[in-house]
Structure formats: C-alpha cells, structure tokens
C-alpha cells in the first residue's frame, strides 16, 4: 500500500474528519512565510477548546450520565411489563410514555445508554488492545517480516466487516451482546493497527527516538516510554470515532436480531420493536432513533474536537474545517 493511500485509509478508518491531514509529507513542507498564507497563521494558541469538542463532549457526557445514573435510579423498572400502562402517552411519571409492554420509555433509554456504552467500550477496548500494539510493532520495524505479516493479516481481517463477523459469530455462539461486541471489536482492529502504525512511523523519525535508539535503549522500552505516549492522542481520537461506528453497528445488529438480547434495553432493539407501531405511535421510534443519532454525532464531534485539541500540527487547518 502506498504512503498516500495508507494515509487516506487511515483517515477513513478514523472515520473521520477528513478536514485535516495526518502528517505533512516529509520533503514537501512549504517554506511559506506564515503571514503570507493567512489560512495558516500561527497565533491560535494550542489546546484551545473548540465548539465541536464541547458539543461532542456534552452529548457523550449526557449518554454517560444517563448510563451511570441508571445504575442507581430509573423512574421505573425498565423491564417491568405492565399491561395497565400499554402504549401510555407521555406524562404522569412516564416522561416519554410507555411501549406496548407498558415499559417506561425514558427508563429504557437510560439503561439503553448503558448498553450502548458497554458495547462501545468493550468493542473499542478489544480493538485498541489488539490493534494498537500490532500497529506499533509494525511501525517500529517497518521493513521486517513481522510488520509485513501484521499488515497482511490486517488487510485480511479488514475484508470481514463487523456485520459479517457478527452474523457468523452469532451463528456459531448465538446472538447476544457479547458476540456483537467481539465482532465489532475484531472488525475494528485493523483501523487501530493502521492508525497506530502510521503514527508510529512518524514518531520513529523524531530526534528523541533517534537519541533513545542511539543510547542503546531496547525496542520494547522505547515503545512503552516514547512511542505510546506520543501516539496516544491519535489513538484517543481513533477510539472516539470507532465508538461512533460501534454504536451504529450495534444498532444494525439489533435490528437484524443479532444484537442485545431482550429484555435488556438497547436502543437498536427499541427501534426494531417500535417498527410495527411506527404508524400509530411514532414516538416509540423517535426516541431511540434520536438517541442513536445524537450519541453517534457526539462521538464523531468529540473525535474531531479531540483531534484538533490534541494534535497541534493539525490545528491550524481547523480554521477551514
């Protein structure tokens, strides 16, 4: 894979926000006078909070808050079937009404947030724990057979998208949250590996790494002490964006019946269950749909914002973003 393509693939797998260029091409730097190209003026102090970061953070925070709060309190038991409250209109303790089982929609949304975060955290965790070290290894030994092997396997795993993996895993081990998470996680590994590799390649040519290598430090030590801390920001951004993708994947899987098992509330399944009532009670589809969209939006914005916030090299382009 060529450098340029890899960069774009990275951008893609980062889900991203393409408005920025992960790393200038070496040797193509522009010797421009800063003030001659006003788009690139310095003078934007580093690490400033931006609107995307704040909005994304707020949305994600809201999801997290709902999830945490649901452990201690929900207005009603989200799985309690109550025939008397079937399709109850919003109001009177039922903030958003109740579904056809008489379960409180608001409570379900709260616990659903928990499911969403759970799926995201585990899936992204799997991807990060597997993908990042592989990417670092591949990046630190760019010419070695190990690197080649890792990247080839990576490309192969990339050919098994999350949905396909989940259907296959679901077929073997039965559908459920765990299989969905593993499928999404494994399918996301290549994205992490790629991003980690690209970032490692950049870090490896910096002076302090060269110095550390010259000083005879061994590779694992360099990886842990120097490389990981320096690519952490890239990984965090990738995690945020992967999180958004995981949420969408979980929703699609729940829709197909390969996701979270009933009666554990999940936004994807709420949406699926609300389908037959779309005509008479559209609000049952509205709320989980909105929740999914806002959570995904939140994580995407957070990823973009973090990218701008954490990586000073990219920030200058934000003006146009």
């Amino acid at each position: 894979m060529t450098g340029r393509k890899a960069r774009w693939m990275t951008r893609w797998t980062t889900g991203g926000r393409p408005g920025d260029r992960p790393g200038e091409q070496p040797g193509e730097g522009r010797g421009d006078l800063p003030d001659d190209r006003p788009g690139r003026r310095p003078g934007r102090p580093g690490g400033r909070l931006n609107a995307g970061l704040l909005a994304g953070g707020a949305l994600v925070g809201l999801v997290a808050l709902a999830a945490v709060a649901s452990f201690f309190w929900t207005p009603h038991d989200p799985t309690l079937v109550d025939a008397a409250q079937r399709l109850r209109e919003p109001g009177g303790g039922y903030l958003l009404g109740a579904d056809k089982f008489g379960r409180d929609t608001f409570s379900q949304l709260m616990v659903g947030a928990r499911t969403t975060l759970y799926v995201g955290v585990v899936a992204v965790g799997i991807a990060a724990v597997l993908g990042a070290p592989l990417g670092v290894i591949a990046g630190m030994t760019p010419r070695g057979w190990l690197s080649e092997l890792i990247m080839r396997v990576n490309d192969l795993v990339f050919a098994f998208p999350a949905l396909l993996l989940a259907v296959m895993l679901g077929a073997v081990y039965g559908p459920g949250t765990l299989t969905a998470m593993i499928a999404i996680g494994v399918a996301t590994v290549p994205a992490f590996a790629r991003v980690a590799r690209a970032a490692t390649l950049q870090v490896m040519v910096t002076d302090y790494i060269l110095a550390a290598r010259a000083a005879g430090r061994r590779r694992p030590a360099i990886a842990v002490r120097h490389v990981l801390p320096n690519i952490a920001s890239v990984l965090i951004v990738q995690a945020s964006v992967s999180f958004a993708i995981a949420i969408l994947a979980e929703a699609a899987l729940s829709f197909l019946g390969f996701g979270t098992r009933p009666p554990i509330p999940s936004w994807g399944r709420m949406l699926q269950e609300s389908q037959e009532l779309l005509f008479s009670t559209p609000r049952l589809a509205l709320w989980p749909g909105l929740a999914i969209a806002l959570a995904v939006l939140g994580f995407n914005l957070l990823g973009d914002g973090l990218r701008d916030f954490l990586d000073p090299r990219l920030r200058r382009i934000r003006a146009e973003g």
Binding site: T79, R86, F101, P175, L277, F279
Partner: protein
Amino acid sequence: MRRIGIWIAAGGLLLATACGGDGGGTGGGAGDAARASSLSVGFVAEPANLDFTSTEGAAIPQALLVNVYEGLVKLDQAGRIVPLLAEKWDVSGDRRTYTFTLRPNVRFTNGAPFTADDVVFSLDRVRTDWKLKIKSQLDVIDEVEKKDDTTVVVTLKRPSNGFLYSMATRLGAMFSRTGVADLANKPVGTGPYVLGSWRRGDSIRLAVNPSYWGAKPPLSAITLKYFKDATAMNNALLTGGIDVISSVQAPESLQQFADPGRFVTVEGTTNGEVVLSMNNGRPPFDDKKVRQAVRHAIDHKALLDTAWAGRGQLIGSMVPPTDPWYEDRTGDYPYDPARAKELLGGRTFTVKMRIPNLPYAVNSAQVVKSQLAQVGITADIEPLEFPARWLDQVFTKGDYDLSIINHVEPRDMGIFADKSYYFRYDNPEFGKLLASADEGTEQQQADDLKQAAKLLSEDAAADWLFLFPNLIVAKKGVTGLPKNAIAESFDFTALARQP
C-alpha cells in the same frame, strides 16, 4: 406396541410465522387483466425446497398441499374430513379396512393418469422413501391393495381414529409414479395449481392447472411472496405490493388496516397452541409444585394483551376449541401470584428461557420473564435462531428450562406421551389414555382425550399461553380467505377477487 396417536409437531412448528407476500411480479409490469385474475399472498417462511417428504417445516405443505398435491381426503374449514381424490370411502365393521373409491379421469400435471396404482405407490413410498419421523403415523397400515383402477383397499393393523386424519395431511398426498424424480424442485401433483416459477428468496408463483379435473379456481395465478420482516409485509399490503397477509405477525399493526373501505380483516383460529414449555426432566421444573407455581404466576389475559395485542384465545390445555373433545380448562390455574409464592415455599430460581427468535415468542418471553420475576423466578431470555438453532439446542438436546413455541400441528396432544419429547413429561397414565382413544369408538375417543387434556393441565406439564389466532388481512374485495388455519395447507382454491 406402537404408541399411537403421537402427532408429531416438529414440522408444524414453523407455521407460527406465515405471512403474505406481494402479488409480486404483478405489482409492476403485468397488465390489468392478468392482475385481476391473480393475487399475491404474503408469507413469512419460505420453503427451503419443495420436497415435504424429506424436509421438515410447515412452509412446503402450506404452499403445495391441496393446491398442487392432493390427497384422497382433505380437511374442510370446520375440521371435518371430506372427499378429494376419493369420491367416497367405506369403513369395515371392525374399523380396520378402508375402501376408497377413486375419482376417474384425473391426471397428474405430467400427463400421467391418476389410478389406484399411484395410491399404492404413494402410500408404500411413505414407508420406503420418506425421511420424516411423522411417517410413523402411517405405520398402522398393514397393507394397501389395488382392487381395480379406481378402487383401493387399505387394511390397518388395528382400528385407528387417527388414520383417516393422517390421510388428510401431507402423508396422504398422492404422487405420480413417474413424477418423483426431482421433488425438491419439480412437484408433480393433481391439484388445481402447478408450480409456475420460483424466485428463491422472493416468491413462488403458482399457475392454474389447465387440465385440472375439478372446477377451475377463480384465479389464474397465485404468487406467494415471502417476507422475513413483519413490518415489510405490512408495508407491502399498505402500498399494494401484495393483496393478502396470510398471517399477521405484528398484531399491534392491525390498526393500520382498520379502514374497511380498503381492507378486510379475517380473524379465525388455528391449531397453534403457544406453549410455555417447562423441562419436566430436570430441576427445578421436575417439581410439579414449581410448574404449578408458574401457571399461577402468569396473568394470561395480560400476557395476551401485551404480547399479541389481545388477539387469540386463552386455553388451558393442549386442545384447541375446534377439536371435538375441547373443554375449557382456563380456570384450572387462575392468576394468583400469592398462591404461586406459596407453592414455591420461599424458594427462588434462576432459569434459562431459550426461545426461538420469532415475534410471538420474543414478545411473550418478555412478559413471562417480568411476571415470573414477581414470584421469585428469574428467567434469562436467550433467543435462538429458528428453526436450526432452537431445534438443535432445545428440541433435540433438551437443554433448556423454559421455552415458548407455537405447536401448530393439528391434534398434537400426543407429543406429551413421548417422554423423550423435549417436554420430558413422563406420565404412563397419559399414554394409556391416548392409546385407548385411538383404538376406541368416536365417543370413547372424545372421552379419553378430554381426560388426557385434564390430566396434562393438572400435572402442569406445561403452561398454555394462548391459542395462536389466524389473522389474515386482505385488500377489500378479496374473497375465499380461509377463516381458520387448522390444516397444513393454505387453501388457495376458493380465493377470488371481486372486480
């Protein structure tokens, strides 16, 4: 020492999901004339192939029986056995000899005439070639004999009330001696329809059999269109993609079809008992008190209302109201959580509820779980793909505590007499009652079966959540819809469309 009267249900389990498809191809290009004389009906389960002699499942007989294949007799809408390819039959005094007089001048769609030889061939073939275990229902046959071209004599080993009934199912379907080469893809029967085309994953088109022996059906073609998603099927009817939903899978959505100016809704009954199965063979449900507690813990009315929009009937045992020996047993275990707790005596359990991933089961399971939680039983729901995984895990291996499945086979109370059946119910007295019912007179049969149903209910061998309704929605003007789904087939022969 055959156990008789075991009406194996496995095949029929599928029916629970049938739905209506698009008149399909006609939705588009076909001209008005063609459209007027054809209909499309939405179904849920598409056949994997067209050979019901070797493949389980309700989808194949649902599409082909009576429509493409015919038996000597068939079930009418009231559940009575009426003549079809046999003009009449006589039963000997000892009830062991059945003499069928065949309809003359009947031809198979491959051109071969239908004669007594084909009857002998078909019934022998059940024993020799069929791969389904339900073929044991015809083990009671001692001999099939051709008397002349239009007369066949069947001799039984012993009297059996079940024999003639079985002959109305797929077991009695008549095959041509020269038409069984490719049953999976090319069915050859004597029925009013022939297989027109099959677009796998989408639809099956049945065309009228031009050389049919009887009255030609009103429609020239039927398209059976298959949907995996209830909402998609509803939408298809709403937008004119199909004309009939053969079985509504999302009863909540019925209100979309409330406009009598556009749609007609038929609500009838089926043989489908939605059973909350309890594994009698292992703790905690090997304890009759625990099973009884479950029956008391479930508010069946509330369950029906929430899980299936109140459509369907409450039943208390394994007999649907359309069977002659039906008795109302819904009062045996009234909703009484206090009594349930008393029966449990303070014990609490965590059990596996492994259900098929079908709408009625998933809906019901959530209600059951919630209600059982009130008396101290925690049920973990695990939906399994239906049919394969559910059949493998629950039905075959019996690895479950609770399950929910619609037993759609007609007259299937006998499944409880097989202690290897996944209920693992073992009560010799029940088996005796069934055996005596099959051999006895009609009156004796009814008495015994009533007794058996009562025994099942009292033993709490299972809980019966509700009787699955036959819900059909069609465009206004479609007539001839079968009100009750009590046979294996969806009978298209009377279907018509008013201009």
